[in-house]
Amino acid sequence: MGSAIVTKSLTKSYRTRAGQVNVVDALSLEVEEGEIFGFLGPNGAGKTTTIKMLLGIIYPTLGEGYVLGKEIGDIEVHKVISYLPERPYYYEHMTGLELLKFYASLFGIKDEAKCRDLLEKVNLHNDMTKSISQYSKGMQQRVGLAQSLLNDPKLLFLDEPTAGLDPIAHTEIRNLILSFRDEGRTVFISSHELSEVERICDRVAIINHGVIVAQGRLDDLLRGGRIEIIADDVSVALADDLRGKLKDATVSLHEGRLIVDMSEEGDQNAIFDAIRTAKGKVVSIVPRRKRLEDIFVESVKAKKGEVIGGAA
């Protein structure tokens, strides 16, 4: 499979009174075709700026980027990609159907049936003659998704597709995005909430202050979580034994209840064996995975360390 998006040291900087600010700093990304790629980062991290550069709406200061094999800004690419901005606003005087027909005409498509089909796909077929001003946020987002499918795109950019939506709308949108992958499309989602993307993304990149701090398969990134093992009827001897064996773990015993908090990578089976041998009873095993916040915090710490280290 080829790459849908490739960027090399893509940089966008603005001059402010305080000096030059790199909103996106030497960003290098690679998105495979056919995957759902999550672009994560807190607000103001440079996610939207990156997407705008990839779309050719703004121009990079430095570096290069390719979308579907063409240099960014190439209008030909626009025929096979689509973009759903964050919290978009549509011409409110139009109905859903009119809006779709308007966007279709921008592609030179004159296919009203297709517009209807797409509205049906996003479950708006009963509301397509209502004006957009009467749409709820979720409906607006869905009509946005419908418009983004008009050109049967190979690559979709979805900027915070679930921002400001209620949980039911979340689920609907999520399912739609998953269906895009099933149809063989590449989806590039930006979000500041890990929980949104972790369920659907194949791979993610995490950006903070314009710099990619982590990139890779979600599972890989989240590896390094901890596990809590609780067992009853455990003797003090066993607890002491475990304390001696496990370096990277906290072991506590209270009225015969043992709580072991250990690294995911540690040898859990050995603990289970030890408990069983001592006639103890395992009550629960709770894996506590890494959260986005953890990665952020880690990365920020790491970066600070770098900076401090560099300065020192």
Binding site: G56, I58, Y83, P85, E86, Y89, Y91, F107, G108
Partner: protein
């Protein structure tokens, strides 16, 4: 071309629903209809004052509409992020700008036509003007105003590619005033024997460069039908061509700026 037309028609749909424009239009229409009540004073030449008032109201209203309509055009698109969904489609920036402009002109045309129709009805019903020639003569005013306002709209669109709406409002209004004023000013300077040759040449240059809105102020000949104009249609044609070329100037300049603009 399809994209341009689609953007234009959407712009029209939006413009004719903008409340502030509708309020301005309604005020204009009100004054057009109320004008006969204001100018009862001069029975001898009632029509002179009436025509000057009505044409003036139409011109003033149209100018305000043209400015208000265009100064917000691009900033609104950017602020509401609608521009992103459009520019991420296979739409070039110049197509977007031209589409927006054509939409603005079409919306202006609709509103000015409405005012013109009301004006004609007012003259037919309230003032009992039945002569088709006189009525068609009256329409020449708004027709030339339309070219003037299209030029004004192009000024507004041009500035809206790089300045904020408020600044643009005064900028476009200022250009309109200068363009309305410079012709007579130039004439005064040119006929002033005390002016230096350099100043005269500079004035000549400015006169050739400015969008000269004064050129389109042809209402005098309509208000005062005694004035005999030779080949008015040729003059109107020239005016239209002049307006169109200047509009092209502003649009190309706007496109060049907008193309580099970070939105």
């Amino acid at each position: 071309m399809k994209a341009i037309m689609a953007i234009a028609s959407t712009t029209v749909g939006e413009a004719i629903r903008r409340r502030v424009l509708l309020v301005i239009l309604l005020v204009g229409l009100f004054f057009v209809m109320a004008a006969p009540g204001l100018s009862v004073l001069s029975a001898r030449q009632e029509l002179t004052v009436l025509k000057s008032l009505v044409l003036g109201v139409i011109q003033l209203t149209s100018a305000v509409i043209a400015i208000v309509l265009t100064v917000y055009m691009l900033p609104n698109e950017i602020e509401r992020r609608t521009i992103y969904t459009i520019l991420s489609k296979p739409v070039l920036r110049w197509q977007f700008l031209v589409g927006k402009y054509l939409g603005a002109v079409a919306a202006l045309g609709i509103m000015m036509s409405l005012m013109t129709v009301v004006m004609l009805l007012m003259f037919v019903i309230q003032v009992q003007v039945r002569d088709v020639n006189r009525l068609s003569e009256l329409v020449q005013g708004p027709a030339m105003f339309f070219i003037q306002m299209s030029l004004l709209a192009a000024v507004g669109i041009f500035f809206s590619t790089f300045v904020s709406p408020l600044v643009n409002f005064f900028l476009t209004g200022g250009i309109y005033m200068m363009g309305s004023l410079f012709n007579p000013m130039f004439e005064t300077m040119a006929s002033n024997p005390n002016m230096s040759g350099f100043a005269k040449n500079a004035a000549w240059l400015v006169n050739a460069m400015l969008p000269n809105f004064a050129d389109f102020n042809i209402q005098n000949r309509i208000i005062n039908p005694e004035s005999v104009i030779q080949n008015p249609m040729v003059h109107y044609m020239n005016l239209t061509v002049y307006g169109l070329i200047y509009i092209a100037v502003l649009l190309i300049a706007g496109i060049l700026v907008f193309d580099r603009r970070e939105v």
